[in-house]
């Protein structure tokens, strides 16, 4: 009996795209592994506040990888764990912060989980004020212009942050002065519990770009290549002195807003749909289609990353909490 073997459909992608997807995938797995541990530590009462990137990872990584860490700058909000990893923040540092340890280099355990700050990587200090960092990105771009540097500022915000007046002022300022800024919206459809249709009367955050006189794109946040190419174009445009760009990535919020949120405002169907929109399996499929990854490799890779993150966690847990007397340090220059 002859067995017909149907060959796997081959997708041909340029080698550099395959390489990029491979990198995005690895970073996304790392983000996922850290995310998993944070939720577990949260349930154990060892981490007080968990903010998740789950579902946003690919959009974050695909955009952040267009930056040159230490030359360009990134201005995150609190959901940007995967983007931070893409710029060189380590799982160990993230765990130190989440556990409130003194040696957390980002905030010494003073800020909530995923409130990054890494001057050497060009990562501005994240605040919990949604869109509070957008004007800082514009300021960083203005500084680059004054100092004659070709650095670009990329700033991230959610659909919730899109409603803030800070967003309007930052975008208008950047556009008026044609400053090198890339605005990246991670639109997951919820400002905590408030759905998109109660946040804005237009269909898309990107629709607003035209009103500021800058290009706006609304994209599937799971399409790593398309998002990356759009971000590259925006960065090049910014660097060439042609002003800011707004990129909206549509992403699922796979989990509750935070560990303090019960997500009860979404129906079980809505929650299931969000969880089912996980962008990672699709990326994995893409890599498998072009023979850049096998099932066994994928499993082994994730296992290894998870083991590494667990080892990081053990190290982080062993670190001391701050001395109480440290509380008033760094209020002013020392």
């Amino acid at each position: 009996v002859a067995v017909a073997i149907t060959p796997k459909p081959q997708t041909s992608l340029p080698a550099q795209d395959v390489q990029l997807l491979r990198r995005v995938y690895r970073l996304a797995l790392t983000a996922r592994a850290v995310d998993e541990r944070l939720w577990i530590l949260g349930r154990q009462g060892r981490v007080n506040f968990v903010l998740t990137a789950r579902g946003h990872e690919i959009a974050q990584i695909a955009t952040a990888l267009t930056l040159r860490p230490g030359i360009d700058s990134a201005w995150f909000y609190y959901r940007d764990l995967a983007a931070a990893l893409a710029l060189g923040v380590t799982p160990y540092e993230i765990l130190l912060g989440a556990l409130g340890r003194a040696s957390d280099p980002h905030s010494g355990g003073r800020q909530l989980t995923a409130h990054f700050s890494a001057p050497k990587l060009g990562i501005g200090s994240v605040s919990s004020v949604v869109a509070g960092g957008l004007p800082h990105a514009v300021g960083a771009a203005y500084a680059a212009r004054v100092l004659g540097q070709d650095s670009v500022a990329m700033t991230y915000f959610g659909d919730g942050g899109a409603s803030s007046g800070q967003t309007h002022e930052a975008m208008n300022f950047a556009a008026v002065h044609r400053l090198p800024v890339v605005f990246v919206c991670e639109n997951n459809g919820y400002a905590l519990s408030v759905p998109l249709e109660q946040q804005m009367a237009v269909g898309s955050v990107a629709d607003r770009a035209a009103a500021y006189g800058m290009p706006g794109r609304s994209m599937d946040g799971a399409d790593a290549l398309a998002v990356h190419h759009a971000a590259c174009e925006a960065v090049q445009r910014a660097r060439a002195g042609r002003g800011p760009t707004l990129i909206e990535t549509r992403v699922p919020r796979m989990l509750p807003h935070s560990s303090q949120d019960d997500d009860a405002y979404r129906t079980p169907d809505e929650r299931q749909a969000a969880a089912g929109a996980d962008p990672l399996p699709r990326l994995r499929g893409q890599l498998m289609d072009c023979d850049a990854l096998s099932d066994d490799q994928a499993e082994a890779e994730f296992d290894q990353i998870r083991a590494d993150v667990l080892a990081d966690e053990d190290r982080a847990v062993a670190q001391p909490e701050p001395e109480p007397a440290r509380a008033r340090r760094w209020l002013y220059a020392e």
């Binding site: 700050s117 200090s125 509070g132 514009v138 500084a143 930052a170 209020l331 220059a333």
Partner: protein
């Protein structure tokens, strides 16, 4: 800045400090509404754009949040921005950026990010400016760790303190009382004088009572001291110059000297800067007091546009004279 025979005004001192700092350090920029082509609604930035270009003396949209936030981001990435709020009343629009962002930046990044930004703002009443061009908002910012708050009263201090503010590594709020702007001229040293932040100035020595004040209160106190001197009462005037950090040692010295403290400010009385000064004296200097503390301050009201109502609520020299006479007689 060429000084006339009688020196320069406070406003000219601000302009001179900005010009000299812009010339000295390529990282210094001045941004705000109307600071460029117009040179500022009070002319504090007059001529600077022509001299230093439209990028370093930047006209911005009417966007106080962006003015503050852009200055913060630029400071984090290497500039020394001087952001002007056209009136202190509009700083409230940018309260998040000043209080939640600038003030916490160094602390929340455990020293990683500095935020060497100066927020300049004309403040104060007496110009028929109504509620949105007259407020004294300094107490809001003195309440916030991480900020420095400076209120010079004289041209020399305005110049020297603005230079200090621009060179400071931390965010400084620099309040300029509108009634100080063209009040008098003073000779300012041609040398590059920097007046240290956090150090009060004994404006006038005296023996009978101390007026502890700042901003326009210094001018009121000088007037009152002249009047009382003719009556044989000698008033010591302490010009705080900086409200945060406050020069508590200087307050202690003057209270020890006279035993009587009259605290004067134009801002509202309740929860004002004077309340902190009074609490400090009560907690730490009680045994030096020969009389109860007295405060002269605004009447806990918004500032009206019309003259009679404004005069009714904003302290003037007569209020200080009356309070000083009463305290001297205690």
């Amino acid at each position: 800045m060429t000084q006339g025979q009688h020196g320069i005004t406070f406003l000219e001192a601000v302009n001179a400090a900005l010009r000299e700092e812009l010339a000295r350090d390529a990282r210094v920029v001045a941004i705000g509404e109307d600071v460029g082509r117009k040179g500022g609604v009070f002319r504090a930035t007059a001529g600077l754009q022509a001299e230093f270009g439209a990028l370093r003396v930047l006209d911005t949209p009417i966007s106080e949040i962006a003015i503050a936030g852009v200055a913060i981001g630029a400071a984090m990435r290497g500039l020394r921005p001087v952001a002007e709020f056209q009136f202190a009343d509009y700083m409230q629009v940018a309260f998040d950026q000043i209080v939640n962002q600038a003030a916490t930046m160094r602390w929340r990044s455990v020293g990683g990010w500095g935020c060497p930004v100066v927020f300049r703002a004309p403040f104060g009443a007496g110009v028929h400016g109504g509620v949105y061009h007259s407020q004294s908002v300094e107490a809001f910012y003195c309440h916030v760790p991480g900020l420095k708050v400076v209120v010079p009263a004289t041209p020399r201090d305005a110049k020297g303190l603005l230079k200090a503010a621009i060179r400071d590594e931390d965010p400084v709020i620099f309040f300029e009382h509108k009634q100080s702007y063209r009040r008098f001229r003073e000779t300012v040293p041609d040398a590059d004088e920097v007046v240290p932040i956090g150090v009060a100035r004994l404006d006038r020595p005296g023996r009978d009572l101390s007026v502890i004040t700042y901003g326009v209160g210094v001018h009121h106190a000088r007037h009152a001291a002249d009047v009382l001197a003719a009556e044989g009462v000698f008033v010591e005037i302490l010009d705080l110059r900086t409200l945060a950090p406050m020069d508590r040692a200087a307050i202690a010295r003057t209270v020890a000297n006279t035993g009587k403290a009259l605290i004067v400010h134009e801002a509202n009385k309740t929860m004002g800067v004077g309340a902190e000064i009074a609490a400090f004296i009560a907690e730490e200097l009680f045994m030096d007091l020969d009389a109860p503390l007295v405060r002269v301050a605004a009447a806990d009201c918004h500032v009206p546009y019309n003259g009679p109502e404004e005069e009714a609520i904003i302290p003037n020299p007569d209020w200080v004279i009356a309070a000083a006479r009463k305290l001297a007689a205690f």
